[in-house]
Symmetry: none
Subunit: 416 residues, 2 copies
């Protein structure tokens, strides 16, 4: 039971508008248990609209179409459907009255262009639109039950939920269950290699999404029984977690920072920061999470050497001897932040984000980390590639992971 989505509009094909309608519909249909096979956009061109409708109607059981129901001359969808079905347009009196009433509420008369919106292909079932002047309709095209909605997002969404959803839900035979495991710290190819064979063993589908620097592993099963689908997903997810180790930091929509804040909260621990090359990014990641103030006390962005000394008490001689990007300075920054904020733990990050400022000894991408707590201070460093933004984002993640590992395993554990 596959679905095709068609969005019409030159604003989409010219890139003036991000197609969030398509994303919303695709997500709703996937959650219902449908497989969305195609999400197509065409511009306001009769030929292309007609061809796309015929094609999608032949390839899918359900088609959802948005846009092209408005009053202007580039709104062509209804006419195209009538042409390809070979039936006339007929005016729906109730829709005409609705449009007239709605316009009157705004003190406007009904123009011929508005009246056009009450014309539907003969035999179509009309979908009322309480929020706007463009009613929708559904009709069979090819083998597909085809729905037509206006492009205005809040109108389309309400009409989908009120009318299309009750008609579509009973069509889905199989139930599906999906779990999203969010990972950091392993390359995509390594994740893929480690999970080889899981699909066949558990009868699940694995999907991967890389969103730098994270990788999301989606574990999906379809089954006539929802419980059976869930059981297969859960069994597979256990193996995925075993094979990926602590690279899996959370499920679903939990962010990397949120997972760490939760862990800190469970331990009754607080965190402070001393950021250099990340420039506030780590603090930003943490404070995006509502309630971060319960465990995150604050930080110092010590972008200059003077600030490292004045605000964190880093010995100016140590900076002169070892450089601002060094293990010695990272340790002193973490210890300085911990004592000034009075936190359980403090993380320091100092590195060379580039594109300039690298040397043979200290190349762009070199980042030193230190985490201090009551038991002591641990340090590590990495050299990684990529753009300035990638170096900074990766450093922020590595820093937070370092805190997590110290919390979970203490200073003696390998933190690499």
């Amino acid at each position: 039971m596959t679905v095709g989505i068609l969005c019409t509009g030159t604003e989409l094909t010219r890139g003036e508008l991000v197609n969030t309608n398509a994303t919303w519909l695709a997500e709703e249909l996937t959650a219902l248990g449908f497989e969305v096979g195609a999400v197509d956009c065409v511009d306001d061109d009769r030929d292309r609209i007609r061809r796309a409708l015929v094609r999608l109607g032949n390839e899918h059981e359900v088609v959802l179409c948005t846009g092209g129901l408005g009053p202007t001359t580039d709104d062509l969808t209804t006419e195209c459907v009538a042409e390809l079905l070979g039936v006339p347009l007929v005016c729906d009196a109730a829709s005409l009255e609705h449009i007239r009433t709605l316009l009157a509420r705004f003190g406007r008369d009904m123009a011929p262009s508005n009246a056009k919106q009450a014309d539907f292909t003969e035999g179509a079932s009309i979908i009322s639109n309480p929020r706007g002047t463009a009613p929708g309709f559904h009709v069979r095209i090819g083998r597909a039950l085809s729905f037509f909605f206006p492009g205005v997002p809040h109108e389309m969404k309400a009409m989908f939920r009120d009318t299309a959803l009750p008609l579509l839900a009973p069509l889905v035979q199989s139930r599906h269950h999906q779990l999203r495991l969010r990972c950091f710290g392993l390359p995509e190819s390594e994740v893929n290699d480690r999970l080889r064979g899981v699909e066949a063993e558990f009868g699940v589908i694995l999907g991967y999404r890389a969103s730098f620097p994270e990788i999301e592993v989606k574990v999906l099963a379809r089954d006539p029984s929802y419980d059976a689908a869930t059981a297969r997903v859960d069994a597979a997810a256990r193996v995925v977690r075993e094979r990926l180790g602590d690279a899996v930091f959370a499920e679903g929509t939990t962010t990397f920072a949120e997972a760490l804040l939760t862990l800190l909260g469970e331990r009754g621990a607080t965190l402070a920061l001393a950021e250099s090359c990340t420039g506030g990014l780590v603090g930003d990641m943490l404070t995006r999470v509502p309630g971060a103030s319960r465990t995150f006390l604050g930080g110092v962005v010590s972008y200059s050497n003077e600030a490292k000394t004045a605000l964190l008490g880093v010995d100016a001689a140590a900076i002169a001897t070892h450089g601002a990007v060094s293990e010695t300075v990272a340790r002193a920054m973490a210890e300085g932040a911990r004592s000034r904020f009075g936190s359980t733990l403090a993380l320091a990050v100092t590195g060379i984000a580039g594109p300039d400022g690298g040397t043979p000894e200290k190349p762009v991408g070199l980042v030193h980390f230190a985490v201090a707590d009551a038991r002591g201070t641990s340090a590590q460093h990495v050299v990684s590639g990529g753009t300035r933004e990638q170096v900074r984002v990766r450093a922020a993640y590595l820093g937070l992971r370092f805190v997590r590992r110290i919390l979970l395993n203490g200073h003696d554990a390998g933190v690499g």
Copy 2:
């Protein structure tokens, strides 16, 4: 000369990811002078990928395809192209070496799944990808010159600009010129109203793109003569700038933070921060800009009251009397940051980002700002709506705009 875009990936057809690649490509191609007729997505399904490529290759002169070039088993694009062209896959030694080198830089060996990324359809022209392990290629399918890029946005964009653009630009007859003016601080409807009549007066097309909290105004002209197109755009842009005032902060790809850093640099001024509700976001915005260290000295993220006192010298009694979110505390934070960092100017931001923590007197969305320099300290506050993230991002922009206005106009000027 029409173009078809094809984006592959189950994450798109399942609605897990908004298809911003398609929007970006459509905008670039439209700006070049192409007509984009179709923007299609299919899931990771061999049949559907092949059929879409054949169809788009028959209907358009140019096809651009993103996604499916990664190392995992659901990356099928290259195989599909080979199948539909009836040619074998051959390994490209240079690409293999590039992948090996790139992986080695991260201390990794080349897995078989990575080596697969060096396989191309026989006869294809390879598009190198300096930023990642997935090279692209171009090849003729049907009547279309067809380009294949990885789905990772920054890799795709660089490859498009470096390789596809020089091949595509000569195919378009009419010349076009476009200027992008980036704005902050006016609602989209107000921008639209103020620019009424500009299109007709100058023979240009205005496009608007809202990307919270910014609005971009695109001024585009097409003409057989490039000089004529440029002259019309420049004349229209002057009027756009006049009508929008200081809401226009930059042209092209210059960020809001970058524009401010440039201004600071021109004045020989340095900046420090005291951030509360923005939690490091302002520092992050500034330090994303290469070379930020020349003018940005650092900041304190004083998320707790104790940190405001310990690190910025804010009087604990003032916090107790007025609350952490108050003009008094904002002023003290700015002055404390300025003296500790020794900067020309300091900005303080303290507010209630929500969703909790609001009261009738101090609702969620209330943010106090202060800017201190040698001439004194100015303060202002706003109450705005939206999500936690929107309140924080808007506060970061308003704070930076406040610094800019003090720099340009001094403390006496209206800064509202």
